[in-house]
């Protein structure tokens, strides 16, 4: 991934600079949001409800206009060349948008026609998508009879009919049961491998961002708090915890020796001992563990067990936004209740 890091911005699949968007009632949904998504990657926008993810997606997909700032998708300006952008993108919005009275197949056929496809080629493409998303059995049924997971698979298929270069997935698994959610994750992971498709997804699930996104950006109050791969972000916390359980509790002098031996290992700090338990923090647990074990063995201290606890995205969120993720979500919930449901959809 880092090999692409210095690519000129022109080569980005999606790039947004300083997007600002205010809704009536002085709700500042975006407050200078900038992102750069590279070709072929899965990029995740992570943040609680109301952070501005959906607004960003609406601007990038030519649906809404920003108050200021600029955005390009595969090189086309979303404000000046919206038609070119629309041809290059597929959009799976939070609300399905499939026609509930029409069948799954009819929905797909119409979607293809809106892109100027038709005839045998469109029929073949629709057949292919129905099969790929396991919709063959329900293709001739009206969409309103579909389960949540099935409907979501159709939504993704709708976004892919015209073979877009960039696929936008806005909260792809919100509202799905755990089983359907796992299935959708597999689906997205499979998509990520295909024909250089770039995927920009938003999510308010930490685990979803962690699992699906090659790189992710944490969105807080309409801005990007930090961007990187999940590993980079967690690694930057310099804080895997290594816990070693010794066979027996070391005596007074031995204690200090053990502590000194561990502290001497490269990249290990904050060594603490509590009975048989020895804990330390390290930049990279996977590198530190063998070194720690080797050092202990050289000193003749037998080890019973070792565990490494990696920092979570929650820790990353705390570090960059200044509060726990669950707290931020609860706040967002409360804010929404205060505003009332009058405004409808999520931003």
């Amino acid at each position: 991934m880092t090999t692409h890091a210095n690519n000129h911005a022109k080569n980005a699949a999606v790039e947004a600079g300083n997007l600002v968007k205010t809704y009536p009632g002085d709700v500042r949904a975006l407050d200078g949001l900038s992102i750069e998504v590279r070709h072929g990657e899965v990029f995740g926008l992570l943040g609680p409800n109301g952070a501005g993810k959906s607004t960003a997606i609406k601007i990038l997909t030519t649906l809404a206009r920003p108050d200021s700032g600029s955005a390009r998708v595969v090189g086309h300006d979303v404000l000046r060349q919206p038609d070119r952008v629309r041809r290059a993108i597929g959009v799976v919005a939070q609300r399905s948008g499939a026609d509930p009275t029409a069948t799954g197949r009819d929905n797909l056929i119409l979607q293809g026609r809106l892109y100027g496809l038709g005839g045998a080629r469109l029929r073949a493409r629709v057949g292919e998508l129905l099969e790929r998303f396991d919709l063959g059995g329900v293709a001739e049924r009206p969409v309103r009879t579909y389960s949540g997971g099935t409907q979501r698979r159709l939504d993704v298929a709708l976004g892919l009919v015209h073979r877009p270069r960039v696929l936008f997935l806005d909260e792809p698994t919100t509202g799905l049961d755990p089983e359907a959610r796992t299935a959708m994750w597999d689906e997205i992971a499979r998509l990520a491998g295909t024909e250089g498709l770039t995927i920009l997804l938003t999510t308010h699930y930490l685990d979803e961002a962690d699992r699906l996104a090659d790189r992710l950006a944490i969105v807080d109050r309409g801005r990007i708090a930090v961007t990187g791969t999940a590993d980079e972000l967690k690694g930057a916390l310099r804080g895997d915890a290594v816990h070693v359980e010794l066979r027996q509790s070391p005596g007074g002098v031995e204690r200090d020796v053990v502590r000194a031996v561990i502290a001497a290992v490269d990249g290990v700090r904050e060594v603490t001992m509590d009975g048989r338990r020895l804990s330390a923090r390290t930049d990279d647990g996977a590198v530190a563990v063998p070194a720690v074990l080797a050092a202990l063995e050289r000193s003749g201290v037998p080890v019973a067990a070792v565990t490494v606890a990696r920092p979570s995205l929650d820790d990353v969120y705390l570090r960059h936004v200044g509060r726990r993720y669950a707290e931020a979500e609860a706040d967002a919930e409360q804010a929404r209740e205060l505003v009332g449901t009058g405004q409808g959809g999520a931003r």
């Binding site: 030519t62 809404a64 041809r87 993108i89 609300r95 399905s96 948008g97 119409l110 809106l114």
Partner: protein
């Protein structure tokens, strides 16, 4: 330019096709289209039977006079609700899905206009048949009836475009319901739908003359007479065409305000 026109036409067809398919799946709707007009024909036909005896009314049979009135009133009434469909598509996310595809904005609105137009035409023809069965006479023959259907479609377009525009801008069902409930009866009674204009109070005559419902009725009745007055058909029909075009254009403009607020 021609490419754009062809593209808009093709896309309009697909957008209409989608709606017609939905309509065909709900045959009960056709029944609904007919029920209310049948009631109006029956109620008004009996209630106002003696109106024709008023000096200066002009026609011998009130039913002959009433049929175009009910056709046009039904066109207004069913088209006024079309904004509900717009709100539903917004809430469901369908409109947003279309707006992120290259489909032309005009085609999205036109799809609704054409579908409403076809529905109105079918409804109008059915009312004409119903009136004929009840004993109404159509001295203007097929041409006269065709003008009636076209006029009611144009009038319906005016109201569906306004209703669509309202759906896009206000996005509240209550607004559409309010508009329909408040406007339908006053607008209909302030026209020549049920009463000859010459028998109205003067202020009402002025109001009726400015009412598009009257324009469509004047055009239709002029064409449905035994001796059609084509000049009157052209003038009133022309105004109606202009108004319909203006309201459709206006409703397409509401996409911009929608995209600003979305």
């Amino acid at each position: 330019m021609t490419a754009v026109v062809t593209q808009t036409m093709t896309q309009t067809w697909w957008m209409t096709h989608r709606r017609l398919k939905a309509l065909v799946r709900q045959p009960a709707v056709v029944g609904m289209l007919l029920f209310q007009p049948a009631v109006w024909l029956f109620l008004f036909g009996n209630l106002f039977r003696k109106v024709t005896e008023l000096p200066g009314f002009g026609t011998g049979s009130y039913l002959d006079y009433l049929v175009p009135g009910v056709v046009v009133m039904s066109a207004v009434s069913s088209n006024m609700w079309s904004g509900m469909g717009v709100i539903e598509e917004i809430e469901r996310g369908t409109l947003n899905r279309f707006l992120t595809t290259p489909v032309r904005r005009g085609a999205i609105m036109n799809g609704s206009v054409v579908e409403q137009g076809l529905t109105t035409a079918i409804q109008s023809v059915l009312i004409v048949v119903l009136g004929g069965l009840a004993g109404a006479d159509y001295p203007g023959g097929f041409t006269g009836l065709a003008v009636l259907v076209v006029a009611s479609v144009l009038l319906g377009t005016v109201f569906s475009a306004l209703s669509n525009a309202m759906g896009m801008m206000v996005r509240e069902r209550e607004a559409i319901i309010g508009m329909s409930v408040f406007l339908l009866l006053p607008l209909t009674f302030l026209s020549s739908a049920f009463m000859a204009k010459s028998l109205m109070p003067v202020w009402m005559q002025h109001a009726a003359a400015a009412n598009p419902i009257t324009w469509s009725l004047d055009a239709a009745r002029a064409a449905m007479a035994a001796n059609p007055d084509w000049g009157a058909v052209a003038i009133h029909g022309g105004w109606l065409v202009a108004l319909a075009a203006a309201t459709v254009w206006l409703s397409t403009l509401t996409f911009r305000s929608y995209q600003r607020s979305v």
